[in-house]
Symmetry: C2
Subunit: 379 residues, 2 copies
DNA sequence: GGGCCGGTTGACTACGTTGTCAACGCGCGA
DNA sequence: TCGCGCGTTGACAACGTAGTCAACCGGCCC
């Protein structure tokens, strides 16, 4: 393979740079042009004759020249680096987002620096400060962070996009998200259509937009159907929290259907029901949210709401890069070109410049009609 | 909260820099010293009187000055950025590693840029090339990449550390890993001690070090115990592959115990057994590897081998940073100070400079004695 | 009292790139 | 034929920081 050759060239330099890593001046000397012309060729600027261009490119190849990112960033005031602030979690959602952002960014010629910190106000402050200090050209914020003191003034000088729901209405930065309410509604309607009297909810952290929206969708669907709305139990996205809250639900014989705010909590809840001697789905139906890759192959394959995290991440990065390279980020207005592609907004007011991706219910083995009568296992 | 104040100061600058982001010269002017002295204060260099230092620090605070990373990188030829090359996967292992590396790096004042690419030779080449172009100070490689054309010469100019097992003996870069064989042995011995005649293996990709070492440990433990060694089935770490291979195992009534190379495949295998009407653990016992956070709360809580990914990542980053800041990376020798701390090596020759972390078996509900007689469910 | 020495400070420069602007050469129209 | 304009090229400065080295200052010893 070419690795050895590639890196070998890049490292050692086949040309006359006596051990030093080659710079533009070396290329220029070898090609017999000025350093500025090399710069033009490298940046594909106009006004370079083909003959000259070829000579320069040959010299670049011979020396294994690579542009110095630091020098370029210094002079252009542009780092071509995106900062991602995320709560450091190995949950499927966040990590899928990070990888999605990373892939999309590379495709657009940007690299990605990740700053993980607990989703507290201090954690957010430190993460953003690190990213700013590092000189990122734009910021991708994760939902859980957004409510923590993010203000209009604070970030308006730096292009910023939020992946997920913004809780505070004052937030001006653009948001890319999925139709959380719609997904929750689909889950609830599915369960009600199976014959369940109502659906209990295992919610995510109350200060996170995605969790709030899913809870809203759940409540709304119940109200619309005239079903009784019970108080949601709150978890922290982890399977452990799903298990713990699931044990509380398992103690209530009236519970026949549960909608968990993500797949991991749904799995934990299923475990709690099984442990309590209540079968899934015969006694209790469970629905998750995310459709993590594992969910189809759980011991009880999970009915869940599928969202395309990769597509969401891609859109977020695309919008962010457009903002970076286009207008100097005038606090993204609804008329900003970057946000005109799919303005499906209007789901909730005050966030007109949101992308909203559709979601879809995937029905598997964890849901079914309420077979045994509520009140305990049949004799 | 202080976010607004922090970022507000940083962005707008409370001083006399008329909109521009403040630079050292601005601080120097305000403090009445030279730019060089500001540099000394910022870098905590010696030979600065306390009075002067305080004056400079006050000016820094007033202007909200932040060092320009690009300029610093340009002049020091040092980016304080670590590059992480990873296969873009949302599996627990890789994503936990990325977060662990990121956290450890920040603690040491380094930021982390991630390059994800498929674990092929081309993917590896592109990922490393991107990272090098970005100007990283050091490289963290993930196991699956290492066998792809990594050569002594190729990376010897850039400090590099491998997290995981290096397959090719020619690889000189330092490696930090866990005791894969030992973990596999513990899993097998646990199953044999329960009374199983032998243990089948659901392995990871054959070209990945961790998968190979786990398979080696499994085979070794069986041989030592005089049990028969069956051909391992090969998956790709995903629950899906665990399910698919699990179906093949479920068809064989002699199978009473399975050791999967990671938790996700173990879960998929459990699903396959349940689907085939074989109970876990009554008919078949299953052991995983990783102890992912969810594994304790699976519908059938998983017996698995716990490894401390965060600690491994931390060690890798510590070693890498030591190499970056210490000697100019003479292709890490066993006597290199960076690798003297815990040389538990010697597990396999040719890699004397490896850190090897211990692992531990966590026994849960997915394993038990072979209850029903092999040959099918009892009537 | 003069010289020396070490701690402190600043002027100058390099780092590798891009932006600005002037200069050059060629073809074309007057 | 001359002048003009455009496409092409290069000299020079600038970006913000750290390294080098000289200058300065005070106290100390001879």
């Amino acid at each position: 393979m070419s690795i050895e050759a590639d890196l070998g060239d890049a490292d050692l330099g086949a040309g006359r740079t006596d051990g030093r890593v080659p710079v533009m001046a070396d290329v220029a000397r070898l090609a017999g042009v000025s350093q500025k012309t090399v710069s033009r060729v490298i940046n594909e600027a106009p006004h370079v004759r083909d003959v000259v261009r070829d000579r320069v490119l040959a010299a670049v190849a011979e020396l294994g020249y690579r542009p110095n990112a630091a020098a370029r960033a210094l002079v252009t005031q542009q780092s071509r680096v995106l900062g991602v602030a995320m709560p450091g979690s190995t949950d499927y959602g966040p990590s899928a987002q990070v990888f999605g952002i990373e892939t999309a960014a590379w495709d657009l010629g940007y690299s990605v620096v990740v700053a993980s910190a607990p989703a507290s106000a201090e954690g957010f402050a430190r993460a953003v400060a690190r990213l700013v200090a590092q000189g990122v050209a734009g910021l991708v914020l994760n939902d859980p962070y957004v409510h923590h003191g993010l203000s209009t003034r604070a970030l308006q000088t730096l292009p910023t996009v939020n992946v997920g729901e913004a809780l505070c209405p004052g937030t001006v930065c653009a948001a890319v998200t999925v139709d959380q309410e719609g997904g929750a509604r689909q889950a609830v309607e599915h369960l009600l259509s199976l014959g369940h009297r109502t659906v209990h909810h295992l919610a995510g952290p109350v200060d996170q937009g995605a969790a709030v929206r899913r809870a809203e969708g759940w409540r709304e669907a119940l109200v619309r159907a005239g079903a009784c709305v019970t108080a949601p139990l709150v978890g922290d996205w982890s399977a452990r929290s799903g298990y713990e809250q699931g044990r509380r639900l398992a103690g209530d014989p009236d519970v026949t259907a549960v909608f968990a705010a993500n797949d991991q909590m749904a799995v934990g809840a299923m475990r709690a029901f099984i442990e309590a001697g209540r079968d899934v789905p015969a006694d209790v139906s469970v629905v998750g949210f995310d459709d993590a890759p594992d969910s189809a192959y759980q011991v009880i394959p999970l009915t869940t709401v599928r969202q395309d995290v990769a597509a969401v991440s891609r859109r977020a990065v695309t919008a962010l890069v457009a903002a970076i390279e286009g207008q100097p980020w005038p606090a993204a207005s609804p008329t900003s070109p970057a946000f005109d592609a799919h303005p499906l907004g209007g789901q909730h007011a005050g966030s007109a410049d949101a992308f909203r991706f559709p979601v879809g219910l995937v029905i598997r083995a964890s849901t079914g009609p309420p077979g045994r009568r509520p009140g305990g296992p049949s004799p």
